[in-house]
């Protein structure tokens, strides 16, 4: 199977985002640290599986990793190196 068949939209991570940020994050905008593209989180590409311990959000333009979330042993760990900024509405 081509990995693009596994691709989801950032919108599918809305539940995890709510656990982490409480706020609705799929409409939050972020800038890709690799190519500079600005997009809403819900419009980015997401890789996540029902039984997986985490999720990977990638830029919908250049495919660079924007955010990694791992959930294990009662903790969430977030990697945010691929986002140069993230803008959240009040």
């Amino acid at each position: 199977m081509d990995e693009t068949q596994l691709r989801l939209d950032g919108n599918a991570a809305a539940g995890i985002f709510r656990e982490l940020f409480v706020r609705e994050m799929t409409v939050a905008r972020g800038a890709c640290a690799s190519c500079g593209t600005i997009a809403q989180m819900g419009a980015q590409h997401l890789y996540m599986f029902p039984l997986s311990p985490g999720a990977v959000l990638r830029c919908n333009r250049c495919q660079a990793v924007l955010m990694v979330v791992v959930h294990r042993d009662g903790r969430y760990r977030m990697g945010l190196q691929g986002l140069s900024w993230l803008e959240i509405a009040e």
Binding site: M1, T4, Q5, L6, R7, L8, D9, G10, N11, A12, A14, G15, R18, E19, V22, R23, E24, T26, V27, Q40, M41, G42, A43, P50, L51, A89
Partner: protein
Amino acid sequence: MAGATLQRRLTWLQARLSRRLDETPRVKTLVLDVPGWPGHIAGQHVDVRLTAADGYQAQRSYSIASPPDDHDQLSLTVERIENGEVSSYLTDVLAEGEQLELRGPIGGYFVWSTESGGPLFLIAGGSGVCPLMAMIRQRAARGSRVPTRLLYSARSLEEIIYKKELDLLAERADGLEVFYTLTRDHPSGWRGGSRRIDGAMLAEVGFGAEQHPLCMVCGPTPLVEAVASTLVELGHAPDRVKTERFGPTGG
């Protein structure tokens, strides 16, 4: 839209199966009573969690198919997936009156309300029609006349979900038009499409890019990717094309 979305910690709610409706041989709609449901916007989803006696938990996301106006009641339309532990439980095992846990509403990106305007071009593959149906139902419930077209791809006539309701709504001639295309089998005399959605079909059925329609595409990932990139090739602005990919299958 963020302002219309409740900003609170998500909590698991108890839902009770009120009725289960047969939609197609593999698809059922679960009508759930959810006391304390905070309301939703068409296009949002819920997480459903099942817990076995030994504590094993399984969780899946399902789009809400009902419009926002049904207080304390939600409809989820679930397709039975081969070896899908959650979907087969929901379609075949859970009995009326029994409970399950859900939380939501979730997601503020792939949503539409009558205030969002149009024209609205909805493109569905298979059970990807579910969140789009919530939009169509809300449009009808509010008496909206936003020009709306649904292009719905299914494998065969019997696999079209909500066909009777869609045909009735289209007969109102209030600006909703519905087009079906069947990719595997079609009956003799079939007047709809009989191939996969392609550029020619999108151009023929959809609104022109110069009308700046809001395009919402939902279904299996390969269909969504093909449709979204073709819409952009046809001149639609990428930020007017919103997608909800289901992945290869659900579960």
